[in-house]
Amino acid sequence: MQDLPENARRTRAQQAAESALVAADVAIGIGDGAVGFARSVFRSGRPLLDSVVSPLAAAARTAAARTAAPVSDRTGQEWLRQAAARGRQDREAVTSAVVRLVLARVPGLTNALLDQLDLTALVAERVDINAVAAQLDVNAIAQRVDVIAILKQMDPGELTRYLVEDMDLPAVIQSSTGTIMSDAVNDVRMQSIGADERLNRAVDAILLRNLTRRKAAQGAAGSGPTTGTGDGTMQATT
């Protein structure tokens, strides 16, 4: 069985389910016939009992004879098909009635059930909000937000006060200005370093020095009193 492909196994399972359904329909149909028969008997009433007893007996005898005697296959199959048809109709009718009943009662039952539950506490206790939030597409949500409408509802005066007082806008501007000043100072420093190097190269060329100034300065710094660490600090080497 394990060697069978998936489709074959599914087909066999479907066939088995359908056979069971047909068998159930047959059983329901037979039961339905029996109930109908009993109902007709009781409908006839007591005054007809005597006249019915004998046909019943005759029918019983006939049925017993049919049961005892072998029936033909064709007759038996026809009877089973009719029973199955009746059973299917009954089953479908019962199913639809149950579905209608459930659908009619579900809203009320659901409301009554929800009224008894503290959904907020339930969600907080059993739902991993972070995991749910991680699956949210925040950008898509943000695109649906009407920012202009929100801004129109805001008070410009209040917004200005918030920017100036709570966010300390003057400090932000001062910090930005400080950064600009720092950049300007760095530019001046770099240009002065470049000018230093150009002057050193010119003097070295005039004095016919083979060793460039920078190497000499590094060598002097390395073998002399101090050495640079690259970050503005000096380490003693003597």
Binding site: N186, D196, A217, G232, M234
Partner: protein
């Protein structure tokens, strides 16, 4: 605009966060050239001139308040001015090098004056260097000739003027290794 360097010295692991731009980091700790030092000195001279001017105005204000009817701006001869300028410059340089290792002009150009150990000058060393610079200011021109970018004052007192941009914003963490 920030960087981190670390080094092991004297059994201590030193981690330093600096605000020095990457292009300037190779120069940090090297002896500065003459242009940078002259620019820093020029700024310092302007500052000293401002101090002298402010002092002159202060003296004039006192004289005016003392005798408004006979007030006239005081006239100082050149000797007095040179002496006052030298004294102010001496105090200015000494205080800057002893307290911060740098004068305001050095700060603008990112320079620092250190002794032969690479440390900030003591008061005596700062005063001696300031006196030499005031008395023999032309000695700074030796920087252009010196292979090690040292002025006459540096050679005499074994000091150095180095590029040191980020020391004011350095965060130093040290732990025993």
């Amino acid at each position: 605009m920030s960087g981190a360097t670390s080094g092991l010295s004297g059994g201590k692991l030193s981690v330093r966060l600096t605000a020095v731009p990457p292009e300037a980091r190779p120069y940090q700790g090297q002896r500065a050239g003459m242009i940078s030092r002259l620019l820093a000195s020029a700024i310092d001279l302007v500052a000293v001139a401002g101090i002298i001017g402010a002092g002159y105005l202060a003296v004039s204000a006192v004289m005016f308040l003392w005798s408004p009817s006979k007030f006239h701006f005081p006239a100082f001869d050149r000797t007095w001015l040179l002496a006052a300028g030298g004294a102010v410059l001496f105090c200015y340089l000494s205080a800057g090098w002893a307290m911060n290792g740098r004068t305001p002009g050095d700060f603008v150009l990112g320079l620092r004056v250190v002794n032969y150990r690479g440390e900030r000058l003591r008061v005596t060393g700062a005063a001696l260097r300031a006196a030499l610079c005031v008395v023999f200011p032309i000695g700074i021109l030796w920087v252009a000739v010196s292979r090690a970018n040292r002025s006459v004052a540096d050679v005499v007192l074994r000091t150095s003027v180095i590029y040191a941009w980020g020391d004011d914003s350095v965060l130093t963490m040290e732990r025993r290794h």
